[in-house]
């Protein structure tokens, strides 16, 4: 293989690796942004009950099919003398089938309910989490100040401060993840975060023991 072909192959494989990674893990490079002033977290209400009724019939289809299969199996009478007996047998087996169908229906309905409840819960938790991030933002925004007569002309700067927050709102770690290039500005960014401690405790719906967030404080 010539060197140029080798190089082309290596390049192709590298690109392939990046594309596969992006496709398999699309969330990798995303950052969830919460900007309290301009972004509003919309809380989704639990879905209305009507939806439940529309969903349920669709799920009923498989048991009905089963029932027809059973009917076909039980249909042809084998002997004329035992017609009455057979009738009774048929009735009993039909009842059994009907019960089985009802059981399946109940099972499917309860599974559906569990699923919906899980969706509802996860949506509530997500809404509560978003609301908590908004609370953090409001809290720190209230403490975000720079030194008068000293820092008015610092220009456009941003300091990224990483926080680790415990369930009770205690800040357990503060690190400057990305300095602004202005030491005093960075110090005041950290100061604003420290002044905001402790943060409000997590809402009870959030099950995490701790959270890690990045606060971008800009001039």
């Amino acid at each position: 293989m010539r060197p140029i072909e080798k190089a082309l192959l290596i390049s192709l494989l590298i690109h392939l690796a990046i594309i596969i990674s992006m496709a398999v893990f699309p969330f990798v490079l995303t950052k969830k942004h919460y900007t309290p002033v301009y972004q509003v977290s919309l809380v989704t209400q639990p879905e209305p009950k009507q939806k439940e009724t529309t969903v349920t019939p669709e799920k009923k289809k498989p048991p009905v099919k089963k029932a027809t299969r059973v009917e076909k199996k039980a249909a042809p009478p084998k002997k004329k003398k035992t017609v009455e007996r057979k009738d009774n047998k048929e009735k009993r087996s039909l009842t059994r089938v009907q019960r089985a169908i009802d059981d399946i229906k109940k099972k499917v309905a309860s599974q559906q309910k569990v699923k919906e409840a899980q969706v509802r819960t996860s949506r509530i938790v997500e809404a509560k989490r978003n609301a908590y991030f908004d609370t953090i933002a409001t809290h720190i925004q209230a403490n975000w100040s720079l030194l008068k007569n000293q820092m008015e002309d610092v220009g456009i700067l941003t300091t990224d401060v990483g926080l680790q927050i415990r369930r009770d709102g205690t800040i357990t770690k503060i690190v400057i993840e990305k300095p602004s290039g202005n030491v005093l500005f960075d110090e005041f960014a950290v100061r604003a975060v420290k002044r905001s401690a402790p943060l409000p405790p997590f809402p009870k719906e959030m099950k995490e023991a701790k959270l890690e967030v990045t606060i971008g404080l800009s001039s």
Binding site: V28, A137, L147, E152, V213, S219
Partner: protein, 432 residues
């Protein structure tokens, strides 16, 4: 082929560490600007014979921090219970934070004979950093100790020491003649530097804090003199026939730029501190005046009327290339280059009144700092670039005022009759 696969695997591994849950990023913008809230709890007098010196130290420190414009003093009625101690518990820190203070300063004073020892503590309540310092000196110079404590507090908050220990030289007609005087940043300790009953003008304080150069007419010619600050002597430095005026020290104190008259017009000259190497810098048939050095010593700004009206120009000393800086109005003079290097303060005339402006070195962001407050002239930057001193007729005769570099918070510095003009700021004696 093996190598190719190896490269593929390595690339994949490089990407792997990025895998994980998306990190939440919260944007916070639009900060408020506020002075730093501090509480000065007091100075405890440990002297065998108690006097008022502890109270005086407390009062001077409060004044120093107030006039710095950087602090908001928490009022005593908002104080939690305070007892002198060397450390505070977490609960006590929290109590102080709730009072609105973010830092505390306190100390002890011990007077022994003619000497005084001051021990001070500064506690940052947010960072929980405790800084202490010990200062001693003659009782009669206790104000200097307080200024040094104030400078240290400013350094703790801003990372850069203050200018509370600096002085400003100026021309005063207080005695009936134009003499050079100096005064502390806080408006105390006014000292007369010349007393030759002649006309003394344009003082220039050397950056090494040893000499004040000034123009004096005692030989009936505007000559350049040096006032030696260590032994308080005066000597003639340059007495060329004609004009020897508007001296400006290079940042390393080794050279002076000045205005001299050769022929019909005044030109800018350079001369070494020892009087050697007098060299003409500008060669025009117009008037050039008021030189000021850039902090790196590579450029000079000066005034020239080469376009028909006085305007400010900037010259690169290596290439001698000169660029016009000001275009606004028909009179722009008295330039002073900021110690941070980014701006030049100057006096401009708009609508028949003189006001103070600052402009960026590229000619952008021309800011008017004074307005509707008398005539305002002779702007000079403080050595830290936070303040500008200038003379103003807003209260009648011209007096010196100090304002923040953005034009806010002007306060009157001198109060003598006769008026004060042409300030020059000393360097910091309390170096970093």
């Amino acid at each position: 082929m093996k190598r190719t696969f190896l490269a593929f695997i390595l690339t994949s591994m490089l990407l792997l560490p990025n895998l994980g849950v998306a990190r939440v990023y919260i944007d916070i913008g639009s900060p408020t600007f506020r002075p730093f809230p501090i509480a000065i709890t007091g100075f405890k007098d440990l002297s065998p014979v108690s006097g008022d010196i502890a109270k005086s130290i407390h009062a001077i420190l409060l004044n120093d921090l107030t006039i710095s414009g950087l602090f908001e003093i928490v009022e005593q009625e908002d104080f939690p219970q305070w007892q002198f101690k060397q450390r505070l518990s977490d609960e006590e820190c929290q109590e102080w934070l709730e009072s609105g203070a973010e830092a505390l300063a306190w100390g002890t004073v011990l007077q022994e004979g003619s000497r005084i020892n001051v021990h001070f503590w500064f506690l940052d309540l947010i960072e929980r950093n405790l800084t202490t310092g010990r200062y001693s000196g003659e009782v009669g110079r206790f104000r200097e100790i307080v200024h040094r404590i104030g400078n240290e507090i400013i350094r703790q908050v801003t990372g850069q020491k203050g200018v509370l220990d600096t002085q400003i030289a100026y021309v005063s007609k207080y005695t009936g003649n134009k003499e050079i005087h100096s005064i502390n940043f806080d408006g105390h300790n006014a000292v007369q530097i010349t007393s030759n009953r002649s006309i003394n003008l344009s003082p220039a304080w050397s950056p090494d804090n040893r000499i004040i150069a000034y123009t004096c007419f005692r030989r009936r010619n505007p000559d350049l003199y040096f006032a030696d600050l260590s032994n308080k002597t005066h000597r003639l430095f340059l007495g060329a026939a004609g004009l020897n005026a508007a001296p400006a020290w290079s940042p390393d104190s080794k050279r002076l730029a000045l205005m001299m008259r050769r022929g019909g017009s005044s030109e800018i000259f350079l001369i070494n501190r020892d009087g050697s190497n007098l060299a003409q810098l500008t060669h025009t048939s117009y008037n050039e005046a008021s030189p000021t050095w850039s902090p790196d010593g590579r450029r000079l700004a000066f005034v020239s009327d080469r376009t028909g009206s006085p305007q400010i120009y900037v010259m690169d000393l290596a290439s001698k290339r000169t660029v016009r800086l000001t275009y606004n109005g028909s009179y722009n003079a008295s330039p002073d280059w900021s110690p941070r290097g980014d701006r030049i303060a100057y006096c401009g005339r708009l609508e028949r009144r003189f006001d103070i402006f600052t402009i960026k070195i590229d000619g952008s962001e021309n800011l008017m700092l004074t307005s509707e407050a008398g005539g305002n002239e002779d702007p000079v930057w403080s050595p830290d670039g936070r303040y500008i001193v200038f003379s103003s007729t807003r209260s009648g005769n011209p007096h010196l005022f100090i304002m923040n570099a953005n034009g806010t918070n002007p306060r009157r510095l001198t109060r003598n009759e006769g008026g004060e003009t042409q300030p020059s700021w000393s360097p910091r004696t309390d170096s970093e």
